[in-house]
């Protein structure tokens, strides 16, 4: 019997290990708590690259905003772009779509827009300050801002058509 004493603790440790690993499924280790959720969106003033002058967030008060960070060097942004284009055309009367160019040059961004289409204003985040203010960590990332300027949610990575419709419905209460 003397040789057996270790079996029970060893079995217990093994069982604990399996339980812990089993319970780890379904949790996303990368999920970062989104600090700005529910807060007032930081204001900005950025140059419009497919239009005239500059745009501020303040000037959009009263309309919900869908704000998409993208870059010309970002492959998934190109995949996502048609969905946003479609969204701006079909839901543009309910929400304002805004593109923000992230870590990119104006010339590259213009050329890219000429290829992929630009149905909504695209703004140049020259020093990356707006991306920092919003806590955007990469592209594409899409923020949903309510009519009173509160950040309701964000979507990381290319957004699907269904997701976009769902979020816009949430924003407009429709």
């Amino acid at each position: 019997m003397k040789r057996w004493w270790w079996v029970i603790p060893a079995g217990a440790v093994a069982a604990l290990l399996l339980v812990v690993l089993y319970r780890a499924f379904g949790t996303d280790p990368r999920a970062v708590p989104f600090q700005l959720k529910g807060q007032t969106a930081p204001d900005f003033e950025m140059k419009v690259i497919n239009g005239e002058g500059a745009m501020t967030l303040e000037s959009l008060r009263g309309r919900p905003v869908v704000m998409n960070f993208w870059a010309s060097w970002c492959g998934p942004c190109a995949i996502e772009h048609p969905i946003l284009e479609w969204g701006a055309r079909s839901m543009g009367h309910r929400v304002q779509f805004v593109g923000v160019v992230f870590e990119d040059t104006e010339a590259n961004a213009r050329a890219w827009l000429a290829r992929h289409g630009a149905s909504f204003p695209h703004l140049l985040d020259e020093r990356g300050q707006v991306a920092v203010d919003f806590g955007a960590s990469g592209v594409p990332e899409t923020y949903f801002i309510s009519a009173d300027g509160t950040i309701v949610d964000k979507h990381v990575g290319p957004i699907s058509q269904m997701d976009l419709v769902h979020r816009v419905d949430q924003l407009t209460g429709g």
Partner: protein
């Protein structure tokens, strides 16, 4: 029939062969039917053949851009350079599991071939166990991780492999080396489990068991070091080891395998620690599977877990089966493996190895607990915690220092019982060398307790190891009037294990010194510069000359031109840290510029830039001695090669443990005159 269907058919052949062989091997071996070994051998070769063919089919698919195969559509692209097309076999989950199958097939076939003339019953059980493992992996390839699924509407092009994998040539070598290390643990596992199942492990098996483990060990070592090198050369955060869960996953089996290699000596010499030694072989394998689970299940946050998937549950079931099988076999059959001797003196080789094993076991425990702690905290206490490098550094450092000390003391001690006064005499010179080293370091202004103790102990170990290597050579030169080289090769072949082992020790000392120096005496600075401005680090002057854009087939890049005037002023050169942009990636991947010398590396990465105003930000480090880590690889590989090289058959009467060192200390000679076939059975 498309390529995808052909590949899948081959995988099914593999499943059938592995299942058949596992059943036949286990049943035949346990029912004492020696004739069934033939079938188990055949099944092993069939499994290996099917895996080889399936991998070739996948390679053809990758090279011909056959996007009708799901895996090719997932990782392939027309623009990918050919060499990266070949290696994209292991750039994502499904392909790497398929590649795992190939490596497993190779190991099993080699084992079967080399040991085919061994005791048929034992071989049948061992092959049965290994083929059970093969069944699991073949099932994984056929089901949850099937790479050959045929797409009804194939895309015209794919995204290409993960950019991190395309960024450096080391990525071509690092994963296969790790797989060779991981998968290689299957063989010792099979041999050890067969020993438990049969309730006996013949001493003649200990040689092959050790050699197979050493083979896996050296691949694992190379894989781990190359992984560090890759991280250093690609990721641009200025480090080579971050205690990331997946790094730890490869480190855990390395620790137990290293402990195993040492404890087999005690088992062979003293017929002790049998159960412990076998447990280490089992643990090494279970930890490789746990490591693979960590990498592939997506439950850990890590730079490596880019291939998340739903194979996690399948792996978990396998881990459960393994744990139950190992623990119950150790409990029921373990008592049959009784020690035939016991430790007689506290000052002896066996005691030092026992302490070494305890240190390794404690380290394994510390690293395992640290790695799993975030999961434990979340699942049991619903808290999110992260365990970072400080925990691991603080807790493991004392063990490393202890290990270095043992690496010096162990080889000095004889088996059985040491003579205290002799030991003290032998101790004096190395201890003096250690003190001298520390004194010189202090005189040159170096401070820091751990780093200095590592340097001192490194001198201590080096002196002892060189003495242990040289003394037998000198004795031969004196007694047999041989030339130095003849005496050296004679001494090396006379006791390969000892000789090879000590060379490996020297390589480890090199790593220890490099790690201590590069982490304790690192310097770092950041700079944001306009064109023409410069900054300085540790006497190295760097001037920013502007940004360059460029294009390569699979990526675009922006490089910063930095004119470097190294410390001392001569040998100006251009550094070009850069950012690479891949079609498929949302984030740029940097490539740091490294100016490496024996003394230190100057390491610069491009942090951010603005093309319009030509402003760039840099991170720069100097790491003293860091490249010694990579240079230890040839030494480690050379030492291991000597240790595993098949021993020449000795004529009867010549084998034995004749004293061959000064003072009559016995060599670690082939202790138990293994059977000739077992001796040939080195990998």
């Amino acid at each position: 029939m498309s390529l995808g269907h052909l590949g899948y058919a081959l995988v099914l052949v593999g499943v059938a062969a592995a299942t058949f062989g596992a059943v036949v091997g286990l049943v035949g071996g346990l029912r004492r039917r020696p004739a069934t070994l033939r079938w188990a051998l055949g099944a092993t070769y069939a499994f290996a053949g099917a895996m080889l063919a399936a991998n070739l089919v996948m390679e053809v698919g990758l090279l011909t851009d056959d996007f009708s195969i799901r895996y090719v559509a997932q990782v392939g692209s027309i623009q990918t350079p050919t060499v990266y097309k070949i290696v994209s076999l292991w750039s994502a989950l499904e392909g790497s599991i398929l590649f795992w199958g190939l490596v497993l097939g190779g190991y099993l076939a080699a084992f079967a071939w080399l040991h085919r003339k061994e005791d048929p019953l034992y071989m049948s059980v061992a092959l049965g166990v290994m083929l059970s493992v093969a069944t699991f992996f073949a099932f994984l390839i056929a089901g949850p991780a099937n790479p050959f699924e045929v797409l009804p509407n194939p895309p015209s092009n794919g995204p290409g492999p993960n950019p991190l994998l395309q960024n450096h040539v080391l990525m071509i070598v690092h994963p296969p080396m790790l797989y060779l290390g991981y998968v290689g643990m299957t063989v010792p596992f099979g041999v050890a489990l067969a020993g438990l199942i049969k309730g006996e492990i013949r001493t003649s098996w200990m040689g092959p068991l050790r050699r197979w483990t050493l083979t896996a060990w050296i691949f694992l070592t190379i894989g781990i070091v190359l992984g560090g090198w890759w991280a250093y050369a690609v990721l641009g955060w200025g480090g080579y080891w971050a205690w990331d869960p997946v790094e730890n996953a490869s480190f855990l089996p390395w620790l137990t395998a290293t402990a195993f290699i040492h404890s087999t000596m005690v088992q062979e010499r003293k017929r002790m620690l049998k159960l412990w030694t076998l447990s280490l072989a089992l643990a090494s394998f279970v930890l490789t599977i746990l490591g693979t689970f960590m990498t592939r299940s997506g439950v850990f946050n890590s730079v490596h877990s880019f291939t998340q998937s739903d194979i996690g549950p399948t792996f978990l079931v396998f881990i459960g089966i393994l744990l139950v099988a190992c623990i119950s076999l150790l409990a029921f059959r373990g008592p049959l493996l009784v020690a035939e001797d016991h430790i007689k003196a506290p000052l002896s080789r066996e005691t030092s190895i026992l302490v070494n094993n305890l240190v390794f076991a404690a380290l394994t425990f510390v690293v395992l607990v640290g790695t799993l702690h975030p999961l434990i905290a979340e699942s049991l206490f619903d808290k999110r915690v992260s365990v970072g490098a400080p925990y691991f550094n603080r807790l493991t450092l004392p063990f490393w220092v202890a290990m270095l000390f043992l690496m010096g003391v162990g080889p000095m001690l004889p088996w059985g019982r040491a003579d205290g006064s002799r030991f003290r005499n032998q101790f004096l010179v190395p201890a003096g060398a250690a003190l001298l080293t520390v004194g010189v370091c202090v005189a040159f202004g170096l401070r820091g307790g751990y780093a200095l103790s590592v340097f001192g102990l490194a001198a201590f170990v080096t002196v002892i190891t060189l003495r242990e290597l040289v003394l037998p050579v000198r004795a031969r030169m004196r007694d047999k009037q041989e030339s130095f080289f003849k005496a050296l090769s004679g001494s090396a072949s006379r006791s390969q294990r000892r000789f090879g082992g000590y060379i490996v020790h020297l390589g480890i000392v090199l790593i220890a010194v490099a790690v201590a120096a590069s982490s304790a005496f690192v310097s770092h600075t950041t700079a944001t510069l306009r064109v023409g401005e410069s900054f300085e680090l540790q006497g190295h002057q760097m001037t920013f000359e502007g940004l360059v854009r460029g294009q390569e087939p699979h990526r675009e890049y922006v490089a910063a031109r930095l004119q470097l005037t190294p410390r001392g002023g001569d040998g100006q050169r251009l550094l070009a840290p850069r950012m690479n942009y891949y079609e498929s990636s949302t984030d740029p991947v940097g490539t740091p510029a490294v100016h490496d010398t024996v003394r230190e590396d100057l390491y610069v990465s491009l942090l951010a830039f603005d093309g319009k105003s030509q402003i760039a930000s840099f991170n720069a480090w100097t790491f003293p001695l860091v490249s010694w880590i990579w240079w230890s690889l040839p030494i480690l590989a050379f030492g291991t090669l000597i240790a595993v090289w098949p021993v020449r058959r000795r004529k009867p009467g010549k084998a034995g443990t004749k004293a061959d060192g000064e003072g009559g200390k016995p060599e670690v000679a082939p202790a138990d005159a293994p059977s000739p076939t077992a001796e040939q059975g080195a990998a």
